[in-house]
């Protein structure tokens, strides 16, 4: 499979990127980003303060009602983004970084180093991810930071494999051989040639994975292994809401938040994949 570079066109965005999927997905993701950055300036209430009545259904003063501790659900959902999203992004960034480094070294250098590294990757991947995440998170104790570590451990092997595969297929291309023949050092070759070319599939994968990580973060919190109360993390909010079947808004609202970001990232990722497919075929 060919890989392509990310176009560095100055100014206009290339036509194949102007699809509704990419634009829509990016817009929603950007909207959430803005929420994360600015919510404290414009949120109607504070996430931890009790206002109004308990378990109030949605109304004009409380758009998504209140929860069992009389906190405004809408505000908590917005603040929840500050819990879930930065962690998820951090997980992906770290996983991609670690995985790419390990994978590209393994692929490029080959030999016993490759074998050893890949065995580690294989074992980690053979471990069902949820069990691994749960086990590590449990071992380290509750808290978002430990959940972060657990998720990075679960996710980096995927990128290691991905990058290794890419590097293997690029390694034998002519311009790489040319660079080797003029005596360029492996680290320079990796940095300037191999990695830029391998990056596109990783980028696409990362976008799609981000949605999965958001869900996993919420899952761990839901199980009590991630964020602790009274944090407005979405998964933790759903745990609270699970006790109140009839006050549906408490649990449904954070779920909808997860849904919107999940859908947006899925669309964005699929759209990117199609766009790069078009480029590769040109």
């Amino acid at each position: 499979m060919t890989s392509t570079t990310i176009g560095r066109k100055r100014g206009r965005i290339a036509p194949e990127f102007r699809r509704p999927a990419i634009i829509g997905g990016a817009a929603v993701a950007a909207a959430w980003l803005i929420v994360v950055l600015t919510v404290s300036w414009w949120a109607p209430y504070k996430p931890l303060e009790s206002v109004g009545r308990r378990l109030d259904s949605p109304s004009w003063s409380h758009w998504l009602g209140t929860d069992a501790l009389s906190r405004d659900v809408f505000t908590r959902v917005l603040y929840g983004a500050r819990q879930t999203l930065p962690i998820s992004v951090a997980v992906i960034v770290c996983a991609v970084t670690i995985g790419s480094i390990v994978g590209s070294i393994a692929g490029y250098v080959g030999g016993w180093l490759d074998t050893v590294l890949m065995r580690i990757v294989d074992v980690t991947v053979a471990f069902p991810p949820i069990f691994l995440a749960m086990a590590v998170a449990a071992a380290l104790g509750p808290g978002l930071r430990n959940a972060f570590i657990a998720m990075v451990i679960v996710w980096w092997p995927i990128y290691a494999r991905l990058l290794r595969g890419q590097v293997l297929s690029i390694k034998h291309r002519d311009h790489i051989q040319a660079a080797v023949s003029i005596g360029a050092k492996p680290s320079r070759i990796l940095r300037k040639h191999v990695i830029p070319l391998s990056f596109t599939p990783a980028l696409i994968n990362a976008t799609l994975d981000l949605g999965q990580v958001v869900i996993l973060t919420a899952t761990l919190s839901f199980l009590g292994l991630g964020a602790k109360p009274p944090s407005p993390e979405w998964g933790a909010m759903i745990t609270d809401g699970a006790k109140y079947f009839y006050q549906w808004w408490v649990a449904v609202a954070p779920g909808l938040a997860i849904l919107t970001i999940g859908l947006a990232l899925n669309f964005l990722g699929d759209g990117l994949r199609d766009a790069f497919d078009v480029r590769a075929r040109r």
Binding site: T124, M134, G235, F245, W248, G255, G262, L263
Partner: protein
Amino acid sequence: MMPFLLLGIVTIAFGISRLIPANPLASIVGERQLNNEVVVDAAKARWGLNGSIPEQYVKYLKNMSNGDLGTSFRTRQSVVTDLRERLPATLELGVGALLIGGIGGVALGAIAASRKDRAIDHGARLFSLLGSSLPVFWIGLVFLSILYARLGWFPGPGRLPPRTLPPPRFTGFYSVDALIDGDFSLFKECLKRLAMPCFVLGWAYMGSISRLVRAAMLDELHADYVRTARAKGLKERTVLRAHVLRNAWLPTLTILGFSFAQLLTASVLTETIFQWNGIGSYAVQAAQTLDYPAVAGVSLFGGLAFLLANLVTDVLYAVADPKIRLS
């Protein structure tokens, strides 16, 4: 390869369980007794916690090769017994989910491909997208709160109605056992209770399958043999079913193993929400109570199941594709 992977999994599981900063002895002997050396030593000996870490590791491996995975701190039973008791529940869910997801997915994908770009195609794609964007536990909750709490169409969480005894055990699958026992009302009740969790579990799977089948069918529709089939005078529906689908569903086998991992993941949550006494909820309880023999045992089980699923996938693919079968 496989034994090595299993060893790796066991090692990781063991390693994780030794990372625990909290002292597991606290939950075993109680906080107050932690200073009582005699009690603590006895507990350590009993639970295999004495000796250095490498010694414990070796002992663990030896026990494991004898089929002993230790004793759960929480249930005080052997982990193997725990797993064996709970396996049928998870299998019942898993099989149901695979059936719903697999058959539903193939049908949905085939329909979407044959009516490409029309309303039902977009509907099907949205349906599968939702399946992979929604967190399973949330869907489960929403279904419960709407279909059970509000509409009363389905019974609430749990394998059995409250204050009902399980049927005599033949397979461990309550639904099947009820049928064998001749208790039709219990059989129907069990099926109703299986419906929601299996659907929730199977939804994501259905999404992946239908996308694959749709793409594969669209590819195959341009093949020459399709033209030949039409030239023989076959109805379009027959062409789709007997020729295109026959070739298109092969790629779905390739994701069977991978989907199994997803199913395992989702089953953890589904079992928790629907109060299903299977291995998934056992894993959650083990993690929450730092019951590390159980954690290690469940991890090993999960790894094994995953490897097995991959093996089965390879075999199925070889059987289904005549080109591979005969070589």
